[in-house]
Amino acid sequence: MSRQRGVLMKSFSQSLGKLWNTAWRALASTRLAIWLLASLGLLTLSGTLLPQLPAAINEASRAMWFALAEQKYGSLYAFLRSLRLFELYRSPAFLALLAALFVNTALCTVNRLRALSRMMRRQRLEALGTLITHIAVIAFMLSLAVSKGYAWQESAVALAMGQTHPLGHGKALLLRSDGFRIEKDAQGQPTDYIAQITVLAGDRETRTSSIKLNAPLRVAGVSVWLVSYEPGVRVQVRDQEGQPLILESDAGEGGSGQVTLNLSSGLALLHVPSAGLELHISKATESEAGQAFYLQVLRSGTANPLLAEKVSAGQEIRVADICVTLYSDPYVIYRLKSDPGALPTLLSALALVAGTALSLFSESEHEQ
């Protein structure tokens, strides 16, 4: 009885071993790699025939995007959306194919590693190149996974001059925007956009630098890009004796005697509670004399302005016992990003190219 069981166990383990070997061979095979590459190619191609939902998009924009897609594709829309064809490169099908390619490459690489010493003995450089390429593919995919899991970004941080923003998650650093200028050529065309920034550790300035287009700042694992700028106005309000007055804006900005307001929406409202006044400020067109603003001063709760005129930047206006001065102070839009997978991704991509080159060109020489 026990002998029979032993024979059965042996035959079972042999079958299991055969099954394992068959599965391993199939999963590590070049045939599977070919199928996966073809499928990925076709799927990638189909994604270019339909609009793709942008990755960084808020809920409202997303709903609007899908409404427009429905308008464009009509009765086909529901079918296309159910197949995730509008988000193809994030779809389970695409990611599953990539995962399968990863497994295939990894198993194939294990097989190649087993044969590495034989390759080295025979001085087969092309085989070594292929091995490097495959290891690089695995490293590349792992690096992408690290990026997916651990990268973070703040895509639009708007800072006026002197304003600060925490630099990253859990880092005791602050980013302060110190200034912004546009360099222009003789024809008045912009030749560069430059933002001046300071990195602060508490009150201590640790680094002062400028950021240009195509030249982000790298600091403590965080990259800072200059993305764009928005019109802004720095409003200075004092009483007749020159004492600063408390100011409150509708956007939540507040200060004593001075506040900076974002004019990207066209109009900014500022309250001077102690004087019972409201200031309505909008941007006027830029003239040769410099930046100008439209300023309206009203008693709170009334509709008739005490003053409504175009004011040049730096010009002092006296109205209803207060002195108002407006200065141009654009908001600079920064992008903050930290991606621990970026460098490994780049290095593995370079290794991939190096391995491929070794494989292809040593093979050509060998043939010659």
């Binding site: 590459l37 073809a38 190619g41 270019t48 025939l49 427009l68 982000p216 292809l360």
Partner: protein, 289 residues
Amino acid sequence: MNGPELTAYTIASIALAISFALYILSSRTPHVLRFTLPVSRFTNAIATVALLSLCLGLAWRGIVARRWPLGSPFEFTLAFAASIILVYLSLYKTTPMPLAGAIAILLALLLLAYAFFIQPEAARAIQPLPLVMRGIWFALHTLFTVIACGALAVAGGVALLVLPSLSRAARPAPNEIKGSSIVASVLPLPALVDRAMAVGYIALSLGMIAGGIWGEQAWGEYWSWSIKETWTLITWWVCTFYYHVRRRRGWRGSRAMCIAVLALVAVGVTVFLTPSLLHWTRLQRWRIY
């Protein structure tokens, strides 16, 4: 376009036309004008003149515009033509066959015709580039990409040329001996396709890496799945596919050549059709992205 630049492109066009005629003549009438060493040297020298003229024209354009001269579609098309000649002349010694030269030069001529007769007049004017298109990584990205395009075009063009003969070799007619006549004459060409594909694959990979670095520095993104990027990736998939199948039983020969032709098609779509695809897939009134 200024005088010296136009002169350079005119010289390039004439030189290309002459070298094309000579390559064709050499391949069609081997007994009258055999493609012997002096003739091949002369033909290649003329092709080199075309290459240098195109490069000088582009360099002049760059000097006048004070920028890297591979920024507009017109400039890229001219550089694409130059790259085809460069790749062919570099690989010529591996397979010195006039037919391959003829097809490479024909492709370069077609590109010049496209640049001067199909692209709109405005596209030929020297324009300033957006500020973001500057720096060493943008320059490297366009340089590697244009070399890749040239190499894949040579590979695809030559593959297209060999395909019928390889198919015939695989299925010879009853009265035809396998490996005879025309079939035998094109047999070395797949080796040229292989090398051109290798150059294209490596250059394309380097171009994608340089483009990724440029994108990261400019926008903070290595990759954004734009239609052009995606078609570049498709071209890369096709090249990867080629290197996985070219030695496999059932894929050697004509099937592998079909993949090389597919790489040429992918390059064509990437360079010329992506703006139309973008227009086609754009959602109406969607202005945020």
